[in-house]
Symmetry: C2
Subunit: 345 residues, 2 copies
């Protein structure tokens, strides 16, 4: 078994460990957000952590009413005068906590008096040292270059923070059931292998997801690039219709990610149009009608609320990317040109 | 001559018209931003206007120190409780001013008491009616489906606002010279045609730009999709290195957009690595060293300051996309599946 496969299968335990360890830390951050009357959130992140930041936009925006913007770190590293951040919470998300550009954003936020938070797997990293508050991932070492368990644990840390802010007991109960839902999603290993065979010769594709699962589209597209070298671009259906839809033609491979929830109808409508145009659909969903539109389909566990569905949907996408790498004779533990820690400025 | 080519060549006059018409309106918005002590900016936009919003992130962030976040409109149309926006300026950018999701964001901002601004070509549009302030583009009707003159005019409107906020006379002088710089960039028509021939059979590519010109990478990638049906994904070099660099192999087509400025060194370094790996480079720049790395190169007019270079660089990209469409026998005025006004929810 590859290290990647091993780490994908570790996820239920990793998430459970995080839930057991960081409730107090999440409460402290929530208390600081309330007492400092935070007006908006700025998140610095790269790679998979940037997909986690997109999840935060929907989760903190909708459940906790905090507007979340994604930092453009080069504003802090290339240009002379960074934006004013004193009324913001500035958050850095990075499993390694090493990338200098992400650290630069939170360090500048702290210098200006902003509330600062690190979400990282390494308590001794530069990122963890640069911030006032920390949420630690507790996944244990991640050896694979492609992030899997650190990604779903980053989502879980954000979910824990959201619950601490809302003090919503129903959501707490839903969150407690997440490790079991992820364990169920791991049963998609066989179907993911079958789907991967059919995409053996795909060179590029589009990945569609909306709302909470726009983050999943971003993350799964990244896995397809890193592991299977497929040029996969993520879109929300709304962005897709404003131009990129011109790409649609017979045989265009399209990965559709839409668990049940407020975003489902919209994605299903676009999936139907793509199918009518002769595109090749691979569907990740728990909705029977949408699943039936796909030439291939990965049937997600039901009963997962939309706000947590990016975790289970990401697991299905990880399995797909793993099997695509293997089907193509690529080593999922050694993607070309990549290293575990990437330092950008 | 196609309508698209005609509208590309209208840009110097369109930009001049905007500069002559909207100074007072820009001053009023700047005055409101100052007196309301705006803490951050949220922009709703789709398609080319979303690329303009990325320009605003760098321009307003670096020159005017305003943190700018891109709205996720589905937070306002799909989910129950939108984020709090009362301390923000909420801006909608849309040439038609018609898309209901963009209107929904600014309408919610206004309902909450935020300062609201529309940047649009249509003073009678729903977007223009929904906001307290307006900056109008004055481009005249844009008949082509693919936005060209409305894109560069949207950038110019943002530049006018930035100058009004900073009251920087040097920048005002630089902005006044923009129509002439765009006229010079239009001389790249011949070189763009030659470059397009070589990319006749490209099916997908990466587009790299950083800082101010990450917006250009986004916009030119969109033109390549809309007009030439090339699956072109835009990246900043930092994001590219955190995963997508695994796509790099011999013959990967890479469009490199890097005018002189703070972002140049970083992009040139990555371009050198791509060239060493056997990728096929098409370079848009005014830097001789970077231009020499490309199998094909479009030599931008020099003397354009970095903060305005996204306008001239976009013109070079428009010409490239136009000629790619024509080289492939496609009608640049009738991209498949697209209409001039796209209404998304």
């Amino acid at each position: 078994m590859s290290q990647l496969a091993h780490e994908i299968h570790e996820q239920p335990a990793a998430i459970q460990r995080l839930l057991d360890s960081e409730i107090d830390a999440a409460d402290r951050v929530a208390q600081a957000i309330r007492s400092r009357q935070i007006q908006h959130v700025v998140i610095a992140a790269r790679g998979s952590s940037d997909s986690a930041a997109r999840y935060a936009q929907y989760l903190l925006g909708s459940v906790n009413r905090l507007p979340v913007g994604l930092a453009t770190p080069s504003l802090f590293t290339l240009y002379d005068t960074p934006p004013r951040l004193d009324q913001a919470m500035v958050m850095g998300v990075s499993q390694s906590g090493q990338s200098p550009d992400v650290v630069a954003v939170v360090a500048e936020g702290r210098r200006q008096g902003a509330l600062t938070l690190a979400i990282t797997n390494d308590p001794d990293s530069p990122l963890a040292s640069a911030t006032e508050h920390r949420l630690l991932l507790h996944t244990g070492p991640e050896h694979s270059v492609a992030a899997t368990k650190t990604y779903t644990s980053s989502l879980t840390a954000l979910a824990l923070l959201s619950v601490a802010l809302s003090r919503d007991l129903d959501r707490q109960t839903e969150l407690d059931q997440l490790p079991q839902a992820v364990a169920t999603a791991l049963h998609l290993d066989g179907p993911a292998q079958a789907a991967a065979v059919r995409w053996r010769f795909a060179t590029h594709c589009v990945v569609l997801g909306r709302g909470y699962n726009y983050a999943t589209a971003s993350e799964v597209a990244l896995k397809l690039k890193e592991l299977a070298y497929i040029a996969a671009e993520p879109y929300s259906p709304a962005d897709f219709l404003h131009g990129p839809v011109a790409l649609v033609q017979r045989d265009l491979p399209a990965l559709i990610i839409a668990p049940s929830g407020a975003a489902l109808d919209n994605v299903r409508e676009l999936a139907r149009d793509l199918r009518d145009a002769g595109a090749e659909l691979l569907v990740i969903s728990d909705d029977a009608e949408l699943l039936a539109l796909g030439q291939m389909a990965l049937d997600l566990p039901g009963q997962v609320p939309e706000w947590l569905s990016p975790v289970t949907a990401a697991v299905a996408g990880q399995l797909l990317a793993l099997h695509l790498a293997q089907t193509r004779g690529l080593d999922p533990d050694q993607p070309r040109r990549l290293h575990k820690v990437t330092r950008t400025h």
